[in-house]
Each structure stands twice: as structure tokens, then as C-alpha cells.
């Protein structure tokens, strides 16, 4: 019974706080709108950051599947049984997805079928190509280890062991890491700026309601009761800003991707509607959280009894 009474009291207090927050938002409309707009801009920047990050991840994913395949060239004098043994050994390795044996004939056919090699193919005499084991590795980070295994294998062609380009892969991995760090750093800066904006907005609201706060304290309101409306106002500001930012980003996303593709066609970027929902979740949560934190800090000093 008391638990139920507590809940109805909490609901009543929540209603009071919502009312109060809504009134305060409209009473200081100019300040509230300025805050909403600033935070909208910041969230748009954050959203663009997320979208670019996502696009980069998409491109990187495409690239990853390419570089996570290596070919181990087999020297011509290797007995077939040795090749099969090594293929079986690789296939049993948990890091490996598939291993395909490509014979010299198949390799030549494959080479000739590529239109890029058309001129070269007419000049080939006999079969200079090695037979090879095409290995698809699950994780990009393990490609180097598999490459090392291939190079140590007795049947490998010592003049041209594998097609692995370690440096290039490592550089791509480094770049993606740096980009991720830069993205996170930018997000943190944006978040701090918006927290400060909310903080100052709420200070203005507190200033306007200082008499009310004084009376609340004198008649025995708890600190959370005094704080509640302001924190809700902050959350409201953040959520409205997030909604606007999200709407603008959602509208602009597809045209931007199309434009980008027509400008820089070779990068495998595509419109991903599923990402919009995860972006929506992120922006709304970020907006609410920023609003809550900013307003809590903004009001903290003033509601201490």
C-alpha cells in the first residue's frame, strides 16, 4: 500500500516537474530556442561524423574481404600430396575460412579470362604461372600469420611466395584506427560544448525562477523536487534538438551518397537505410543525456539547500 502511495506521489511529482519544465521552456523561449538550435547544429555535426564513420567502415569492409584473401604460390616441383597435406592443415586452422587449390592450368585460364590481361596473354608461351592455394582468412589481423605459415612451408615458390602486401594492409589498418580515434575525439569535444550550452540555458531558467526555488526550499521541497523541472527542461531541449538534427540528416543522407558516388565512383559507398535507425537511437540518447547532464550541472549549485 505504501509502495503504491509512493508511486502515485512520484507520478504526481513528475507531472508537476513536466508542467514546470514546459512552462519554463516557453517562458524563456528565445534562450530555449537558441539552445535547441546550437545543440541541433552540434548533433548534426556529430551525426555527420557518425555517418562518415559508417561510410568509411562500409568501404573498409569491402576492402577487408579483398585483402583477407591471400594466395600461396606452389613451386612447380612440389608433389601433389604435399600440397593436399598443407591444404588440409590450413583448412583445419580456425583462423581460415576456406582454402582452394588452383592448379597451373586453372591459374592460366583465370589469368587469361581477365580482360585486363588480354594483351599480355597473347604473348605468353607455355605456362609461367604457379599453381596456388587461395586462402580466405576470417580476420584481417590474422592474414600476416597465415602469410608467415605459407612462406615457411616447404612447397612454397621461393621466388614469389605469396601475394600478401603487409605494408599496405597495415597502413590501412592504422589509418582506420586513427580515423576512429579522431572521430571519437571530435564527438567528445562536441558533447562537451553542448553540455556547456545546456548548462548556461538552464542557469538562465534558474535565474528566472529563483524566487520560486527559494519558496520551494522554504516550504520543504526536496532537492530533487527543485531540480527535477530543470533537468527535464534540459532533456527536453536535447531531445528536440536531436529530433530536428535527425530529420535533417535523414533527408540529406541518400542524396549525399548519390552525389558522392557520381563524383568519386570507384569508392564502394552505398546508401544504408538501416543505419538511419541506429543513428536515430544514438542521437536521441545523446540529446537526452547531454540535456540531463548539462542541466544537472547548471542547476546543482543553486538548489543546494
Amino acid at each position: 500500500m505504501t509502495a503504491q502511495a509512493d508511486i502515485t506521489m512520484i507520478l504526481r511529482n513528475l507531472k508537476f516537474a513536466l508542467n514546470s519544465a514546459w512552462q519554463s521552456f516557453w517562458r524563456n523561449l528565445a534562450v530555449s530556442l537558441a539552445a535547441v538550435l546550437s545543440i541541433t547544429l552540434i548533433l548534426i555535426l556529430a551525426g555527420i561524423n557518425l555517418l562518415v564513420g559508417h561510410a568509411f567502415a562500409q568501404v573498409l569492409d569491402g576492402f577487408r574481404t579483398k585483402v583477407s584473401e591471400i594466395s600461396i604460390n606452389v613451386s612447380d616441383d612440389t608433389p601433389l600430396q604435399t600440397v593436399y597435406d598443407f591444404q588440409a592443415q590450413l583448412a583445419a586452422d580456425p583462423r581460415v575460412v576456406t582454402v582452394t587449390f588452383v592448379t597451373k592450368d586453372e591459374a592460366l585460364r583465370e589469368f587469361k579470362s581477365d580482360p585486363q590481361n588480354a594483351i599480355l596473354a597473347t604473348q605468353i608461351e607455355g605456362n609461367p604461372l604457379d599453381a596456388k592455394l587461395d586462402v580466405r582468412v576470417k580476420n584481417l589481423n590474422d592474414v600476416a600469420a597465415i602469410d608467415a605459415m605459407g612462406r615457411q612451408w616447404s612447397g612454397v615458390d621461393p621466388t614469389d611466395p605469396t601475394n600478401y602486401q603487409g605494408d599496405f594492409v597495415n597502413r590501412m589498418l592504422d589509418l582506420s584506427e586513427w580515423l576512429a580515434i579522431a572521430g571519437v575525439a571530435l564527438l567528445i569535444v562536441l558533447m562537451i560544448v553542448s553540455v556547456v550550452i545546456v548548462m548556461n540555458t538552464i542557469r538562465t531558467a534558474v535565474y528566472h525562477r529563483r524566487k520560486e526555488i527559494e519558496v520551494m526550499k522554504l516550504v520543504g521541497a526536496t532537492e530533487w523536487f527543485v531540480r527535477g523541472p530543470f533537468v527535464l527542461e534540459g532533456i527536453m531541449t536535447g531531445l528536440i534538438a536531436a529530433a530536428i538534427a535527425l530529420a535533417l540528416l535523414a533527408v540529406a543522407y541518400e542524396p549525399a551518397v548519390v552525389q558522392f558516388k557520381s563524383d568519386v565512383g570507384f569508392i564502394p559507398l552505398s546508401y544504408d537505410p538501416a543505419f538511419i535507425s541506429s543513428l536515430a537511437r544514438d542521437l536521441l540518447i545523446a540529446g537526452a543525456l547531454l540535456g540531463a547532464v548539462g542541466s544537472y550541472i547548471g542547476v546543482r549549485r543553486y538548489v543546494r539547500i
Partner: protein, 283 residues
């Protein structure tokens, strides 16, 4: 008949000035008068407020109170008097825990205020009704909302708020003004709204800092009648005031503070002690 009862009652509280008594009686309805007759102050020897060697020095270095010792029994009616800057408001601020004593202890209802957790403070404030010289009403709320505010803040349900606000407004004779805004009320009416707000959660203590400071003598007297009635219902009243006439008429307990120290504590005192010093009285 009602008139004779009124005289008897006022005589009982040590009231002597005939003209003011008549004026006051006119404002008491017969129903309120019976209330006054039935509810007698419930005195208790155990002090509900106790100051023990209390010192207060503000961060600025001002020594506002020095070694104040004070005991107030349940149901007492107490005036704090003294020249401007003597420390009356400081004592009030200590009592409602707006300030903490620099040294010494203050007990209210057995709780030491200086040691009370911040978390507990709201609950303490709910036991206390506060009235100030400047009313502290919210201008954007109606009379009803101003009084209801003190209950809403406590998360009370609507039906309870309604009943108690109506009761409180009736006590201060403001029924009918519910939808008026403070700006459209006289000073006395505004102070009555503030008193209704202080009363609405049935506090055990009423603490008032110059509640009649902004009011003309007749209105001030009217407000004093309200405090007397609240006291008669059992609330302990502590009031800082400069109103010499009222203090001298009522002959209640008077504590005179001078330069931060208790100069005098009379069971049934006057505003000034020393009648031989007319220049002091002239203040």
C-alpha cells in the same frame, strides 16, 4: 454576548488597549471565536527549541550572535526584539537552518540542527511555517495556487490539497479571493496569503521575521490576531519584530537582543525595558 466573551478572552491574554481590542473583535467571526475558546494552548515544560551557547560569525567576520542561550517550551509565543543589526534575523535563519551556528548547539524537537543531514532538511522545514516581511509570494500564481504550492511541493494528492488550502484560506479570512493574483491584493491580504501558505501543512512551529514590517498599524494588528489564533491552536510561534505597540499590548514573552547577545528575557515583557531612557524608546 459575543462581545463580553471577546473582552474576557482578550483580557486573558493580557490585552488592555480598548480601541484596538474593539477593532480586532470586529474581525473575528463568531465561529472563529468558538474555535478560540475551545482550543487552549497546550503547554509542555520540555523545551521544543533550545539554543546552547550559540555563536554565529558570518564569513565577512561580522559577529552576529554571541553566546545565545534560549529555551522555548511547546506552545510558547515569543517576540524577538532589538535594534536593527542586533541579530534577530540571524537567529531566525539559524532556526530554519538557512545558516549553521559557528559554535554551540541548536535543538529543535530533539534534533540538533547543526548535525542534521542535508537530506533531512526538507522534512524539518515541513514542520515549520515561515512568514517574512516581504511575503515571498509567487506573482505568477493565484492566491489559491500560492497556498497550494506549499502542499504540491510535498507531493500531496489533489483532493487533500484542495481541502487544506480551503481551510487555510478560511482561517486567514480570504475565502473568495482564490483566483486573485497577489499584485491585486493589499499588503495585509498578501501577508494573510503568506500565513495561509505557512499554515497549510499544519506546522508545529511558526517562525516569522518582521511579518508586520510592511503593514499599517491596523493591518498589523489584524495579522497579529491571526498569529495569536494559530498559537492558541498549539503551534509554537517565534517572531522577530520592531512593532513596539503590539509587543507592549500583548505582554507575551519578549527576548531582547542587543549586539548579538540576549539582553533580556521576560515572561511577559515589553518592547523596551528601561522606561527611564526616552531616547531609546523614541527609535
Amino acid at each position: 454576548m459575543a462581545l463580553r466573551e471577546g473582552v474576557g478572552l482578550l483580557g486573558g491574554i493580557g490585552y488592555t488597549a480598548r480601541d484596538l481590542a474593539t477593532r480586532a473583535r470586529r474581525r473575528v467571526t463568531p465561529q472563529q471565536e468558538t474555535q478560540l475558546m475551545v482550543l487552549t494552548p497546550d503547554f509542555d515544560t520540555r523545551p521544543v527549541i533550545s539554543f546552547q551557547h550559540v555563536h554565529k560569525t558570518y564569513p565577512t567576520g561580522t559577529e552576529a550572535l554571541r553566546d545565545v542561550n534560549l529555551e522555548v517550551p511547546q506552545g510558547d509565543f515569543l517576540f524577538l526584539v532589538g535594534p536593527s543589526g542586533a541579530g534577530k534575523s540571524t537567529l531566525v535563519r539559524l532556526l530554519i537552518r538557512e545558516e549553521k551556528p559557528t559554535r554551540g548547539k541548536i535543538f529543535v524537537d530533539g534534533i540538533e540542527l547543526g548535525r542534521m543531514k542535508r537530506r533531512k532538511l526538507p522534512h524539518y522545514r515541513r514542520k515549520v511555517g515561515l512568514v517574512f516581511q516581504d511575503f515571498k509570494l509567487l506573482p505568477n500564481l493565484t492566491v489559491y495556487e500560492n497556498v497550494a504550492f506549499a502542499m504540491r511541493v510535498l507531493g500531496e494528492p489533489d483532493h487533500k490539497v484542495k481541502a487544506r488550502v480551503a481551510e487555510a484560506l478560511d482561517t486567514v479570512s480570504l475565502s473568495g479571493k482564490e483566483q486573485t493574483y497577489p499584485a491585486n491584493l493589499s499588503g495585509g491580504e498578501q501577508q494573510r496569503v503568506a500565513i495561509a501558505r505557512a499554515l497549510v501543512h499544519a506546522p508545529r512551529f511558526i517562525i516569522a521575521d518582521e511579518p508586520t514590517g510592511n503593514l499599517d498599524p491596523a493591518t498589523a494588528w489584524e495579522i497579529m490576531q491571526l498569529f495569536l489564533r494559530i498559537n492558541a491552536r498549539g503551534a509554537t510561534v517565534v517572531m522577530a519584530t520592531h512593532n513596539r505597540e503590539i509587543v507592549d499590548l500583548l505582554r507575551r514573552r519578549v527576548i531582547a537582543i542587543d549586539a548579538g547577545q540576549i539582553a533580556r528575557d521576560d515572561r511577559s515583557g515589553r518592547y523596551h525595558d528601561d522606561l527611564a531612557k526616552p531616547q531609546v524608546r523614541a527609535q
